[in-house]
């Protein structure tokens, strides 16, 4: 799982901090936008009494009153720190449920550009500069990569300052981004995977929008492993040339998908196949990638998505702290609930208290017996001294503290987690006992989880196929086709598309095909050793060796049928019903 980091680099001249965006300009508004917005917005937004809404008056000839009021009204719908995501612009594009739909046909047209430039602080004499980077760079791990931002420019030809950030990198990576001279930067990827490099430029008065480069680092090509000579001991032979225990393969795959939300690569399968299930569980419970998946799972559960997803600050360090054992899972969840992101997602006493009671305790607050709880929680949130669950408090923080101290919270949390891993509810007596232990000893979650993942229920479950849930499916598909996990924007949009069909199989297949056909997919044009290629793909994608008839048919097709290429083999496997489950 990628981790957000910020590494600011030096610039050509001292660029001001990003917290000092330029203020929107009235004269620019008057010249370039007032009449246009009057046509687009005033039809619906012309009522000045729309207290909580965006009010926009029709312009009235020489009277500058409506113009000034419209300007002030527009300011409330701008986000100076992230102009392109300003509510005004997003609504104008038909996003965030804007009832009037999209008002601009395209983001590349001049009319929309004027609106965007206004949000960025353009004046009549100065338009914003533009940061330009290549969209994507392929690189090898360990090799230095030079990133060229020198094509960035300014409409008025001003000298530019450059601000580089490494905004996303693979878990475990310690790569740094170093700014060079003349709009360049250098970095040396130290882990395979996706790195997001973001550039903004400054013309002395205005910032450009950020532009992002996706740097895909691939492991150096593994040397072709020679065929093991006859008589080589079984354990020394390459994995796919051995007789393999299908149960062990299934368990390796299951743990990857359950704990890391992705499928394993072939070298990872090779590594873990030789070790015990218990060793693997222990290693994963100490890995940042597994806790990153857990963190994302909690964000999804609490619907902290898109603009509410934590981007920076202490919260994004939770996976690392969980992996190191510096914080336990219940406290980590509490930290998420106490965050500004959760607060922004659930504004106001009613929403906040309702969501906490429902999501953390599993209560249905609309049921009559819970209405008093809701009222007490709301009072406490509002600052009144109130009793809740026999505890007293008078603040929002007290409310959260009290909820997280309840036995029911531990019960609900453990029940939810158990179901994620097993697909069935936990037996009630066991749930009660384990919840009691967790309430006494919050650090016990890791030990409990270890017990579950090495227990008979989980191991039995590994032998029964389950449909891959949406997010692990998306991440596994990227790993299986491109050898990397998706960056957040890719994951979010693909996941949303998957959720838009009652039967997601067709859209899953479409995405699989898109990725397989992309230049980023590293698929050999021909299979040098067809038998080995086929076996590797079966092990990688299905956690099993091909059966006799399968291997024979695939190998023969690769050798004799000109239509059958390695890409066609992969497409056949990815589009088969077996790939839908794990």
């Amino acid at each position: 799982m990628a981790l957000l980091v910020i590494g600011l680099a030096a610039a050509s001249f001292a660029a001001p901090p990003l917290s000092a965006p330029a203020a929107p300009d009235l004269l620019y508004f008057e010249r370039h936008l007032a009449a246009d917005l009057n046509q687009r917005c005033a039809t619906c937004h012309s009522d000045p009494e729309m207290a909580d809404h965006f009010a926009f008056e029709p312009l009235a000839g020489a009277d500058r009153g409506p113009l000034l009021r419209n300007f002030r009204s527009v300011l409330g719908f701008l986000d100076p720190d992230d102009p392109a995501r300003s509510p005004l612009l997003r609504h104008a594009l038909g996003m965030e449920g804007h009832p009037g739909g999209a008002l601009y046909a395209s983001t590349t047209r001049a009319d929309y550009e004027a609106l965007l430039h206004f949000a960025m602080g353009a004046t009549l004499s100065n338009r914003p500069p533009e940061a330009i980077l290549p969209k994507r760079i392929l690189a090898k791990v360990g090799e230095q990569v030079r990133i060229d931002g020198s094509l960035s420019g300014d409409p008025e030809g001003a000298e530019l300052g450059y601000r580089w950030e490494l905004t996303e990198r693979p878990t475990g990576s310690a790569s740094r981004l170093d700014a060079g001279e003349g709009g360049g930067a250098r970095m040396r990827p130290d882990q395979p995977g996706a790195y997001n490099v973001t550039l903004r430029v400054h013309d002395g008065a205005l910032w450009s929008l950020p532009t992002t480069l996706l740097l895909l680092a691939q492991a150096p090509d593994a040397a072709v492993v020679p065929q093991a000579p006859a008589g080589t001991p079984e354990a020394k032979r390459p994995l796919v040339e051995r007789r393999l225990d299908p149960q062990r393969l299934r368990r390796v795959r299951r743990l990857y998908l359950d704990l890391q939300w992705r499928s394993p690569t072939l070298p990872e399968i090779e590594e873990w196949y030789e070790r015990t299930h218990e060793e693997m569980v222990d290693a994963f419970l100490g890995s940042e990638e597994a806790w990153s998946a857990w963190f994302e799972q909690q964000l999804y559960y609490l619907l902290l998505l898109d603009q509410f997803r934590p981007k920076e600050g202490r919260l994004v360090t939770l996976p690392a702290r969980l992996a190191k054992g510096e914080i336990d899972a219940p406290r980590a969840l509490e930290e998420i609930v106490r965050s500004q992101y959760f607060n922004a997602r659930n504004p106001g006493n009613d929403t906040f208290v309702t969501v906490v009671l429902e999501q953390c305790l599993g209560l249905v607050v609309q049921q009559r017996e819970n209405k008093l709880l809701l009222e007490a929680g709301k009072k406490m949130y509002d600052g009144y001294k109130t009793a809740l669950f026999r505890d007293k408090g008078d603040s929002q923080a007290d409310f959260v503290r009290i909820v997280f101290a309840q036995r029911e919270f531990h019960r609900h949390f453990l029940g939810r987690m158990w179901k994620e891993f097993h697909g069935t509810p936990m037996e009630v007596k066991r749930l009660d006992a384990e919840a009691a232990r967790l309430a006494e000893e919050p650090g016990a979650y890791r030990a409990l989880l270890r017990g579950w993942l090495t227990g008979p229920e989980y191991l039995k479950g590994c032998d029964e196929a389950r449909t891959k849930p949406e997010i692990p499916y998306v991440r596994a598909l990227f790993v299986d086709t491109l050898g990397r996990t998706p960056v957040y924007e890719e994951m979010r949009n693909v996941r949303n598309a998957f959720l838009s069909l009652a039967d997601p199989t067709p859209i899953r297949l479409v995405m699989g095909r898109v990725l397989l056909e992309s230049p980023e997919a590293r698929i050999p044009v021909t299979a040098v050793d067809p038998a080995r290629f086929v076996r590797e793909q079966f092990v990688r994608l299905f956690a099993r060796l091909p059966e006799g008839g399968e291997e024979k048919a695939f190998v023969a097709a690769l050798k004799e049928d000109p239509r059958v290429t390695p890409r066609v083999v992969l497409w056949t496997l990815l589009s088969s019903p077996e790939y839908q489950s794990y």
């Binding site: 039809t43 009652a502 297949l509 095909r513 024979k552």
Partner: protein
């Protein structure tokens, strides 16, 4: 165990329904079970978001296409509805029961939907029953219920156009290149390889589309991702996308039952003008839907189309010159329905009081299914006897 004695149970047990006594024929949906209908397909459009008759039936200029449909069928200006929030009221159309789902509720209903009745009774495969929605997680819950005897295995296929045919997803796709549809030669090669593969492991059965449907859907999505639907913008764009998807589904899959759920009319809370614009745009798209059916010889003589809102809107403007939905006035509680098809009367206005919960049993009846848990009744006055 003693079965509760109900009118329906009594009719069923006594065989009265089977005899089809004329006296009871207008009361019991069972009494019509043996009648043969010409309808082979139903397209049911929930013109949801709250639409008053004043802007439709009473202002034909706003809805010239719906009026065109009505000329071939009926207008029913007195369809009674409950205002239980958009979700509950819309669900009522599909379940034939008054649903009290909360405004923000995001759970499946307890009562079987029209889709489940039709699929179960007629033993239809998944690709014959569809729902196209205009966005929002709630609407996805309409495809099947949590009822123990029905549920997902009898649910409808769903496409939520806003989630899949949008510019953000389009951008992700295009960042990897231009997706292609497999060639015939590649398909043949893949089929050959797949034929050699061991049967896949068994997993819990879901909607269970057959491989051919999955393949056709793939092709459709691939074509549409870079096609027109994602480019639809402006007021009422989500509704227009949902109807556009329905037109394509009708063309490709020729379903027995096609549901469409709109929602953009709710813009009326903030702006009356925008609301009227949404109605006009939806009418235009519904005209396209109707024309596509009429242009297809197979669909033309066998398809019934029914269009109705889940409820209306308040009689008077709110402070924003918009229209809310909470005054319980007749404008809110009575809506206009447009319906046409081979079994409907032609060019008639039926002023009899009907209910939105009668739509589900009527659609079921036309398709030869029974909505056994519905509280609605057959709208027999609309049909040619």
């Amino acid at each position: 165990m003693c079965e509760e004695l109900t009118r329906r149970g009594f009719l069923k047990g006594s065989g009265v329904a089977i005899l089809g006594l004329p006296l009871l024929s207008s009361l019991s949906p069972f009494a019509f079970a043996k009648k043969k209908y010409e309808t082979k397909r139903v397209v049911l459009v929930a013109f949801a978001g709250g639409v008053r008759s004043r802007e439709t039936v009473e202002t034909p200029a706003n809805v010239p296409n719906l009026m065109r449909i009505a000329q071939q069928g009926v207008i029913c200006p007195n369809v009674n509805v409950m205002n239980n929030g958009h979700f509950g009221a819309t669900m009522s159309i599909f379940t034939g029961r008054t649903e009290y789902a909360g405004i923000r509720e995001n759970e499946r209903g307890e009562n079987p939907t029209l889709f489940e009745y039709v699929r179960k009774d007629k033993e239809l495969p998944a690709q014959t029953v569809w729902l196209s929605t205009s966005g929002g997680a709630q609407q996805r819950n309409l495809v099947y219920s949590s009822h123990k005897d029905y549920g997902e295995k009898y649910g409808a296929n769903l496409i939520d156009a806003d989630g899949v045919f949008n510019t953000e997803f389009q951008r992700v796709i295009s960042s990897f290149g231009t997706p292609s549809v497999p060639s015939e030669s590649e398909e043949a090669a893949v089929a050959g390889l797949r034929g050699a593969m061991a049967p896949p492991p068994t997993v819990k059965a879901g909607l269970a589309n057959d491989p051919e449907t999955i393949q056709r859907l793939q092709k459709y999505i691939l074509e549409e991702i870079s096609g027109r639907t994602a480019q639809i913008t402006g007021p009422g764009a989500s509704d227009a996308r949902a109807i556009s998807v329905a037109v394509s589904v009708l063309r490709i899959f020729r379903p027995t039952l096609m549901g469409v759920v709109l929602q953009n009319a709710d813009v009326a809370h903030g702006s009356y003008n925008a609301y009227v614009e949404v109605i006009r745009r939806a009418d235009e798209q519904l005209g396209r839907l109707w024309d596509s059916i009429q242009a297809d010889p197979e669909l033309r003589d066998s398809t019934t189309v029914m269009v109705l809102p889940e409820f209306g809107r308040d009689r008077n403007f709110n402070q924003r010159n918009g229209l809310d939905h909470g005054d319980n006035s007749p404008e809110l509680r009575k809506v206009g329905m447009f319906a046409a098809g081979p079994d409907f009367k032609k060019g008639k206005t039926i002023t009899k009081d009907l209910r939105s919960i009668d739509v589900c049993p009527t659609a079921c009846e036309l398709l030869g299914a029974t909505s056994s848990l519905s509280d609605g009744r057959l709208m027999s006055d609309l049909l040619v006897r």
